[in-house]
């Protein structure tokens, strides 16, 4: 079978689209058919390995139904010691590499996850589909070309996103900025700087990065002196011409220089809770909406947006997807012996929220694994694009919901409200605290000076009411203010990060969690207590 690059060279774009993006042409029966087949294959592997025998509890299920009835739901603790100790002989298939999670909110500081050769291969297909969706305007359109320049701004291996980059590099379609083989030893910041430097002369066609990073780059872009910056470029005509064109564009538009003046991106991919929060700003800065994908280290990818940048479409070939209704999850969280009934994708109800339970295919290790992510099914199909697979949005981490009885607020909602309030802020954290009753307490660090706290509270409260109807009705009905805002001293977050770095923390754990930070974390941010924060303290005990 020709690889993507060969199909591209031969101009066989129909085949290229079909091979990588064809899953959007499936109907729900075909989708479930693939799930059934791959699960049966996986069960054969599980029944032959030590870990599988343990997780299946002696059951020999011959169908999805039997599997769901007889096999209990698992958490990472059930995979001890096989995954933490990387005991490869006990796994369904020998992994080709191990990935690790960033570790936040996990039972352990981080989790090791095996990736088999086949999962790795499928990962490449899915990532390419993501890029094709990010760069097309209509079904079947292939806008990418061989040697397009790709700036990859996500974490390096052994994090999952780093493996994605390596897998994509195997396809030999894109020229990575900087070349992927040279960046192994480079710190993330240096890699980005090098990439942008190369992008200035070579151009950038595709880009992947965290939304917050894209915003930060966009904000810094126009800063710096005109002639002083142009002079060194005189020796590099390509760079000079690109910058001059960009400057003319920005001058004509009467605004500061933005990345979109310098580069016309074919596609932009981002991931994370903040993708939806920052999407408008990213569009303004980079000229495109970022295409969002939902995945995790344990499950590779679950769903992705398509070319309408709307709700996400599920992928059939990574995991058996089960959906635990929100109320059943609440009961399961209290009592793990409770075996809740899950739903399959052809059984979900639009508007309902579910926690994802997944079983890896292709020799992966996880069996009925509780991912602790809550998604909301928005529709059973995407009518606009004629995609007949249920659509979803990421709702929240299941354990990251601030529940106020009548209203539940997620990280995304709070973030969106702060963002929409127009405040120029550095970062924030939020906790549910007790006064006379429960309140939402937001701790905010502003970028430039201070503002009246009442004004800030009113602005954020107004946005919360606009975004969350249940919040608005609850606050309106009870007639009191649920929100309290405190301003953190300037440099609070920078100081926290510095302390974490000094304590030798993992790069993924430098920033505090947005929701329910522990008391120790808060003390460090507020400057009330000056002490080294350990790994454990960064996770709220609740």
């Amino acid at each position: 079978m020709p690889e993507a690059v060969e199909l591209l060279r031969d101009g066989r774009t129909t085949e290229l689209w079909g091979k990588y993006c064809g899953f959007v042409n499936l109907d729900i029966e075909q989708f479930m058919g693939i799930q059934q087949q791959l699960l049966l294959e996986q069960l054969e592997l599980l029944q032959k390995c030590e870990l599988g025998k343990k997780l299946l509890h002696g059951a020999h299920p011959g169908s999805i139904e039997e599997f769901r009835e007889r096999v209990p739901i698992t958490t990472y603790a059930d995979y001890t010691p096989y995954l933490p100790d990387q005991i490869e002989a006990a796994l369904p298939e020998k992994p080709m590499l191990w990935q690790r999670t960033s570790g936040r909110s996990a039972e352990l500081s981080f989790k090791w996850v095996p990736v088999t050769q086949r999962l790795y291969r499928e990962l490449g297909d899915a990532f390419l589909a993501l890029l094709l969706f990010a760069s097309c305007k209509e079904r079947g359109e292939v806008a990418i070309r061989e040697h397009d320049k790709f700036l990859y701004g996500l974490a390096p291996p052994p994090y999952a996103s780093g493996c994605w980059a390596h897998r994509l590099a195997d396809e030999s379609i894109f020229d990575f900025l900087p070349p992927i083989e040279t960046v192994e030893s480079m710190p993330f910041q240096q890699r980005l700087e090098e990439g942008f430097k190369m992008g200035m002369s070579e151009g950038i066609d595709m880009m992947a990065g965290l939304s917050i990073m894209l915003v930060a780059i966009g904000e810094r872009f126009g800063q710096g002196g005109g002639l002083k910056r142009v002079l060194p470029m005189l020796t590099k005509p390509k760079l000079l011409s690109r910058m001059l064109r960009a400057m003319i564009k920005s001058k004509m538009a009467g605004r500061k220089l933005l990345p979109r003046d310098v580069w016309t991106l074919k596609g932009l991919v981002s991931s994370g809770t903040d993708s939806q929060v920052y999407r408008e700003r990213i569009k303004e800065m980079w000229g495109r909406y970022p295409l969002d994908v939902y995945g995790a280290t344990e499950c590779v990818m679950v769903a992705m947006q398509t070319w309408d940048y709307g709700d996400m479409t599920f992928l059939p070939y990574f995991n058996l997807l089960e959906f635990m209704p929100e109320k059943d999850y609440a009961r399961w969280a209290l009592d793990h012996t409770y075996l809740p009934a899950t739903r399959l994708l052809n059984e979900v109800v639009p508007g309902e929220r579910y926690v994802i339970v997944l079983t890896n295919f292709h020799g992966g290790a996880f069996v009925r694994y509780m991912l602790n992510d809550m998604v909301q099914i928005t529709a059973l199909r995407n009518a606009r694009l004629n995609i007949n697979i249920p659509q979803m949005i990421f709702y929240s981490r299941a354990d990251n919901i601030l529940d106020f009885g009548g209203a539940s607020l997620t990280e995304k909602v709070v973030w969106q409200a702060i963002e929409n309030s127009g405040l120029d802020y550095v970062d924030w954290v939020a906790r549910k605290e007790k006064r006379e009753g429960p309140i939402l307490h937001i701790y905010l660090e502003l970028r430039n000076g201070s503002r009246d706290i009442k004004e800030i509270t009113t602005a954020i409260d107004k946005q919360l009411r606009l975004i969350k109807e249940d919040y608005a009705s609850m606050v309106g009905a009870q007639g009191f203010n649920l929100l309290e805002v405190s301003l953190l001293p300037g440099g609070a977050f920078q100081g926290y990060i510095a302390k974490r770095q000094a304590a030798g923390s993992d790069p993924a754990h430098l920033k505090p969690p947005h929701i329910n930070p522990a008391d120790g974390v808060l003390s460090t941010l507020t400057g009330e207590e000056s002490k080294t924060v350990s790994d454990k303290e960064s996770v709220h005990p609740a």
Binding site: T14, N25, L26, Q36, L38
Partner: protein, 842 residues
């Protein structure tokens, strides 16, 4: 009408056909551009033809004006198509080209192009472009050059042989255009329609590339029929030209005769041209298919040859070999359904020296499901690309790679998938055209009926040769197979052995437990037999409770081992299930024990008879049977086997008298033999103990059934005949010399070690050892089998415990200890399942 006009006309017709067919398919950008090119080219041919045709002489100037427009459009459209095909950014070139075309249109409208028309000698007219000719030529050269440049660049960057092939043909087409175009311009008199010859050549090359190398992915558009149509058009055109020429010649001769002459000539020529057309079509086929032409013909005529085929093997031979030859397939495999899978049952390789690679697909595999639903060929590329195949198992995907599979063709009969034809890679480095697929599907349709018939025939044949009760082959097939084996071994100098197996006292079992239970036992026995033999061995139900087993290429020693395995399997399994059945087996070897079929059967039958006579549950070789016959003849009539047989039958009858004791004496014989062997008794003594154990209760023949079957304790009166049965047994057998060694054992087997037994009250070692052994064996079996006077059957462990408790009192402690040791070893060795008590019929 000149030759140039004919070329233009033929070119026009070919373009019309291409356009008509291309219009039938869904438009893509590439197909649309190709269509635009075809329309422009057809326009060029049309305008040229009309300008030069006699019947448009008055408007020819108008047609002449359009020629430069269409010719330029054709070249620009071709360049645009090529640049799009090679996936090169074509917007600039296309815009430039269509800009030039617009300019040319304006120049034509203003009368600059062509400046005028010139007439040469013999009335040939052509356009005079003046200096504009150079502009037009430069324009054409530029766009042709860009096309060539794009093609060469794409050729260099591509690693795909298919893509490179297509580009070679496109280059060839452009080459024709360039060469003939240059000649046309270079020659002083433009009278040969050389530009149209180049044009026609390009059209033909494109047609060939589309058909042979799937250019444009319009696989079905350009089939062989297209070439036929082209040829037919050419021949018709030639035919018309000849007729027209003839008409002119005849008109100059005699006007009156010409109509009749023309009609006759036309008929004659039509008669002559038809075979020419056929020959040319055949020649085209050969040109397209090369060496595979004959095989392809054979494949196409497969149906007529297969109408009477009923054997799958014959079908596979007739189908697969021509396929690999015709299509140059590295391997052709026929998958047939069996036990939830489609397995490769027949395969052929192009290179016969290479080993055939097997393939197996689950019947739930997406490939099988797809073929069942779609009923059309499935290519490897579709499997790799279509999302519904994402669920394919890795092991299946690897198998596809290992065999290099390119195509799956469903073989459907009555909407059911009866088989799959699997075609591996085309050699060397080719790929299958639409025509190939069509041939394969035709073949599959034809094969479906044959496969269904063959499967029905195989089933019927199987049924005719199979015993329905046991699933083994039947008596009829045994004789057929035996004849075949004798013939085969005679021809190749091989040997084989034959076993005859008969269940011991099966009739009694049937009488006691009923025929349904008997049938069940026969099924179980056949299962044990099948489990004990190799795949190449064949088991038959000879009739009733008799079975035969044919062991190809097996010596008598090997056969003895197989027989012992079977005997042991049956004994152990039956015993574990509480079914007191054993088997006797006779063995004969071909050719030592008989050359002819009847002779061999007679010999093996005698061996079976001999094993029955000598105690059952044993094996006897044909040579041993002959020996015992000789001994019997020497010893004399008083020890004749007839009497022995009668005695054993009598003992069995005693067993059979009582449902509870059915099979008792055989089990006692087994236990007693084991004990005797463990105690180190000599062979003849062991044999005597075995015989005595079989006959120990023969005296019960004189005890009434009421006493034997009484559930409660016996009265003193009732005990009398019971106490007398050992003496009665001795009275029965004492007249037979061969059994004189058994007398003491039969007489004293109810004596107790402590002296409280009967009939004589012997004590300790005064009781003969044989009797002490049988006493233990007898008691153990009685305790562990169901009895009317006992509520619960003891387990083997409980039975042993009871024996141990009674050791020194009722039984000889040494014998009990030995028996205990034997049982321990047996339970360790065999880990026997718990015996299930049998529920006898009341």
């Amino acid at each position: 009408m000149g030759s140039g006009t004919i070329v233009q006309f033929v070119t026009l017709l070919i373009y019309f056909i291409l356009i008509a067919i291309a219009l039938r398919y869904a438009p893509t950008r590439l197909r649309t551009l190709f269509l635009v090119y075809l329309i422009a080219s057809a326009g060029w041919s049309l305008t040229s033809f009309m300008a030069h045709a006699d019947f448009t002489a008055s408007q020819s100037w108008l047609w002449f004006k359009f020629i430069p427009f269409f010719s330029s459009w054709s070249i620009i459209a071709y360049s645009h198509f090529i640049s799009t095909y090679v996936h090169k950014s074509s917007r600039l070139i296309a815009n430039l080209g269509y800009g030039c075309l617009a300019a040319i249109a304006v120049l034509i409208a203003l009368g600059y192009i062509p400046r005028n028309t010139l007439t040469l000698g013999e009335g040939t007219v052509y356009n005079n472009y003046g200096a504009w000719l150079y502009v037009l030529t430069a324009c054409g050269a530029f766009f042709t050059g860009t096309a060539v440049y794009s093609l060469i660049k794409s050729y260099r960057s591509s690693r795909s042989p298919e893509h490179r092939n297509r580009i070679v043909y496109l280059l060839l087409g452009v080459g024709f255009l360039t060469v003939f175009g240059t000649l046309f311009e270079a020659l002083p008199e433009q009278t040969y329609a050389l530009d149209h010859i180049g044009h026609l050549s390009n059209a033909l090359v494109l047609t060939y590339a589309i058909m042979r190398y799937q250019l444009l992915d319009v696989r079905v558009v350009m089939r062989r029929g297209l070439v036929y149509s082209g040829i037919t058009v050419c021949i018709t055109a030639i035919y018309l030209v000849i007729l027209a020429g003839l008409d002119r010649v005849l008109q100059s001769w005699n006007n009156a005769a010409s109509p009749i002459t023309i009609i006759i000539t036309a008929i004659l020529m039509a008669w002559l041209f038809n075979p020419i057309r056929k020959s040319i079509q055949q020649w085209v086929d050969k040109l397209f298919y090369g060496k595979s032409y004959d095989s392809r013909e054979m494949v196409l005529h497969f149906a007529s040859r297969m109408s009477n085929v009923l054997e799958l093997k014959e079908l596979a031979e007739a189908m697969l070999r021509p396929i690999v030859k015709a299509l140059h397939a590295s391997q052709a495999t026929l998958l047939l359904p069996s036990n939830g899978y489609f397995n490769s049952q027949f395969a052929e390789r192009l290179n016969e020296e290479e080993p055939v690679v097997p393939l197996r697909l689950r019947d739930k595999s997406q490939i099988v499901t797809w073929l069942s639903q779609e009923n059309k060929p499935l290519s490897r590329e579709t499997i790799d690309i279509a999302p519904e195949f994402k669920g394919l198992w890795e092991v299946e995907r690897n198998a596809l790679d290992a065999i290099g599979i390119e195509l799956f063709c469903p073989i459907m009969s009555k909407h059911k998938l009866t088989g799959i034809l699997v075609i591996s890679k085309k050699l060397p480095r080719g790929f299958y055209s639409a025509d190939d697929m069509e041939v394969l599907m035709t073949l599959s349709h034809d094969a479906a009926v044959v496969i269904e018939n063959a499967q029905l025939y195989a089933q019927a044949k199987q049924r005719a040769n199979t015993d329905e009760l046991t699933g083994l082959y039947n008596h009829r097939y045994f004789h057929q197979r035996l004849d075949e084996e004798i013939a085969r071994c005679s021809r190749f100098g091989k040997i084989f052995s034959l076993l005859f197996l008969d269940l011991d006292l099966f009739k009694s079992y049937n009488d006691i437990y009923g025929h349904l239970a008997g049938d069940d036992v026969l099924r179980q026995i056949s299962h044990y037999i099948k489990d004990s033999i190799r795949n190449v061995d064949i088991a038959f139900r000879y009739g009733g409770d008799e079975f035969t087993i044919l062991l190809p290429q097996t010596s008598i020693d090997g056969a003895r081992r197989v027989a012992e395995r079977i005997r042991r399997q049956i004994e152990v399994h039956m015993d574990n299930k509480g079914i007191p059945l054993t088997c006797s087996i006779g063995i004969a070897a071909w050719p030592n024990d008989g050359v002819m079929r009847e002779e061999l059967i007679r010999t093996v039958d005698a061996a079976l008879y001999s094993s029955k006579q000598t105690g059952r549950n044993r094996i006897c070789l044909a040579s041993e049977a002959v020996l015992s016959e000789v001994i019997r003849m020497e010893v004399g009539p008083e020890s004749s086997s007839v009497i022995l047989s009668t005695i054993y039958a009598l003992a069995a009858t005693v067993d059979a008298k009582d449902h509870y004791t059915y099979g008792h004496s055989k089990k006692v014989a087994r236990y007693a033999t084991d004990i005797a062997e463990a105690l180190g008794c000599p062979r003849d003594k062991v044999d005597a103990i075995r015989a005595a154990a079989l006959l120990h209760d023969i005296g019960k023949i004189g005890v009434s059934d009421d006493i034997l079957e009484k559930p409660g304790p016996l009265t003193p009166e009732e005990w009398e005949p019971i106490r007398a049965h050992p003496s009665l047994g001795v009275a029965i057998i004492k007249h037979i010399d061969a059994l004189k060694e058994c007398l003491s054992a039969v007489q004293y087997h109810h004596e107790r070690y402590d002296g409280n037994g009967y009939p004589t009250g012997l004590k300790g070692d005064n009781i003969p050892l044989e009797a002490r052994i049988i006493a233990v064996a007898d008691a153990y079996d009685a305790m562990t089998s169901q009895r009317p006077y006992r509520e619960r059957v003891l387990t083997p462990e409980e039975g042993l415990d009871e024996l141990k408790q009674c050791a020194g009192k009722q039984f000889d402690p040494r014998v009990v200890e030995v028996f205990n040791t034997i049982n321990l070893q047996l339970s360790l060795a065999e880990a026997k399942p718990k015996r299930q008590p049998l529920t006898p019929r009341r």
